[in-house]
Subunit: 343 residues, 2 copies
């Protein structure tokens, strides 16, 4: 492999192409005004000299790298990998690049945040569970904006964008109750995650208000395998007693529930037992599952995250609303009977 | 938002903590030898001064940023999002960060490559279809190593890591033939993708050698919606004629085929029609599908990609084998009857 060579400068390219140095800059700036002919001449010279503009050289004056760190929860949860995809695509469209970090479930993200701050990032998005207030203070000291995505940190005033988990959970509860369910099982998620807790609380309060014969719950670990194993254990006795309805606080766990109920217990959904999830991941909407769920509007959530980062230095649109609570889209699906119009 | 402040230096931290400057460096180097007590004192001082080491300052001498650009094909294909996850996790474990780029299907990646080269990346991984030889020459001029992941570029000697697509396709073909299939439909993928073409060729040659009553094919666009729409059109007549077996060159298209065959035509798989895919994505292995497929060993492929990048400057393990052809794992699944032991 050849050694890393020193880069050609824009002045050398300008000289070879017979143009001014600012023309070279324009040729490499998306959308800048320059004739196609001049641009082609400059690109030919650049290729001959192996020239590409260096982001960090050109951003020295503006102190911007156009990199944004995205610290994501476990990407094996399709909600996070679908979100990461939208972050990469939307940020790229806005001229930003994602420097990607992954944090395992149930771990705090202090280490990833410390690592991210070693890079000259313009902002940090955090989608995983918890972080210490010291690390948040460090980012504030460095002037790096942080936005929480799909999380809130109780007692902090960090900017955050999240779906209305509580109302979404309540909506699922009302829908199941209207379809006749009176006994419930909640498959819980990450105990550190604010979202899981909010969904569970909304669901529980809604069905308790309407009247139930009982609500049980079990820990599903937020993952397919966690929920699958928990379900197998929970209904593992010789004559298991099934509730009327199961609410898994995310879709990937609801998919695991559907697989266990059908494959191991031969139950039909929704005829024998109702089921719902949360997130609206693509996999849950295939005909094989058709989950009743609440879709998180990922595109809008990412767009508002980008707004709150205020990377262009302007004011944040919509004033200082630093906490954006976005309603989820209820999807009736086919895992709860749709008898109940207008719930 | 506070303005971006100038960063504290390691010397200021050393003074406040009452230690030497090299100790400060060690405190921030994963795995470096330093006592817990000294490290805690340094971290406390660093927090007080809002100090974090700057990767680019500390890498000036080594000219390394520890960033690797990963230019990925469409992340809506779970194979690419699962690969991106493994890239992020394995590179992070090796002390590298992924700067992520996404390229839409059927687009070349020249623009993303040019963009990646504007950052001081230590290497570039390309998983999407095609790129021009000029752009490859530019990267060589800059001394930035490029490794193709799951692709080969005909006529180039670029380092590449890929699964043995041709043998995988042949294996599926032999398995279907042994199970009794004689008429076939191939659902093709990205016409620019070398992988899709290799899988199709391997399959076609194997079944032709064994004897068939005919092989048809249709363009599935590499995506769920592309394959779903193509299947609906293809079998849209009043009395559609179905082949014995369908080979979709990737799992996400095989899932679309299963959904159309079951939901629209009421067919049972494999009793009425056989089906196989390729990739081994998680979703295809759920009980709802249980696809017969060839799993690409993503963890091993990413590990060998990391080796070929030779980021530590040492020689590439296993000599100069710059093209790594890795056998896929055949998964019998349940969408082709498993009558045929030993095929």
């Amino acid at each position: 492999m050849p050694p890393r060579k020193s880069r050609a400068t824009s002045f050398q390219v300008a000289r070879l192409a017979g143009v001014s140095q600012p023309s070279v800059s324009r040729a490499f700036t998306p959308g800048a005004s320059i004739s196609k002919e001049k641009r082609d001449k400059i690109l030919a010279a650049a290729k001959e000299l192996n020239y590409v503009p260096n982001v960090f050289a050109s951003s020295l004056s503006s102190a911007r790298s156009n990199m944004v760190a995205v610290i994501s929860g476990s990407l094996s949860n399709p909600f996070y990998s679908e979100s990461m995809q939208v972050f990469i695509e939307q940020f790229q469209d806005a001229g930003r690049q994602v420097l990607a970090f992954s944090v395992e479930a149930n771990r705090d993200c202090d280490e990833a945040l410390m690592l991210a701050m070693r890079y000259p990032v313009d902002g940090i998005v955090v989608t995983s569970a918890s972080m210490s207030s010291e690390v948040v203070r460090m980012s504030e000291g460095l002037g790096i904006p942080i936005v929480m995505y799909n999380r809130r940190v109780v007692g902090s005033n960090l900017a955050n964008v999240r779906c209305d988990h509580e109302e979404g959970g309540a909506r699922i509860g009302r829908f199941m109750h209207a379809a006749g369910a009176r006994s419930f099982l909640i498959v819980r998620g990450d105990p550190q995650g604010s979202s899981s807790g909010d969904r569970e609380r909304g669901f529980r309060e809604a069905v308790e208000r309407l009247g139930t014969r009982g609500i049980e719950d079990l820990a599903g670990g937020s993952s397919y395998s966690g929920a699958r194993n928990a379900m197998i254990r929970y209904f593992g006795g010789p004559a298991p007693h099934f509730p009327d309805a199961i609410f898994a606080v995310n879709d990937i766990m609801a998919i695991a529930c559907a697989d266990v109920l059908r494959e191991i217990h031969g139950l039909r959904i929704p005829e024998d037992i109702m089921l719902a999830g949360f997130d609206g991941i693509r996999e849950g909407q295939r005909p094989a599952y058709g989950l009743t769920t609440v879709r998180q509007p990922i595109e809008r959530m990412v767009r508002e995250t980008l707004e709150l980062l205020a990377l262009d230095g302007g004011p944040i649109p919509n004033g200082d609303r630093k906490a954006r609570l976005i309603p989820g889209d209820f999807i009736p699906g086919k895992t709860v009977p749709g008898l109940a119009a207008g719930t």
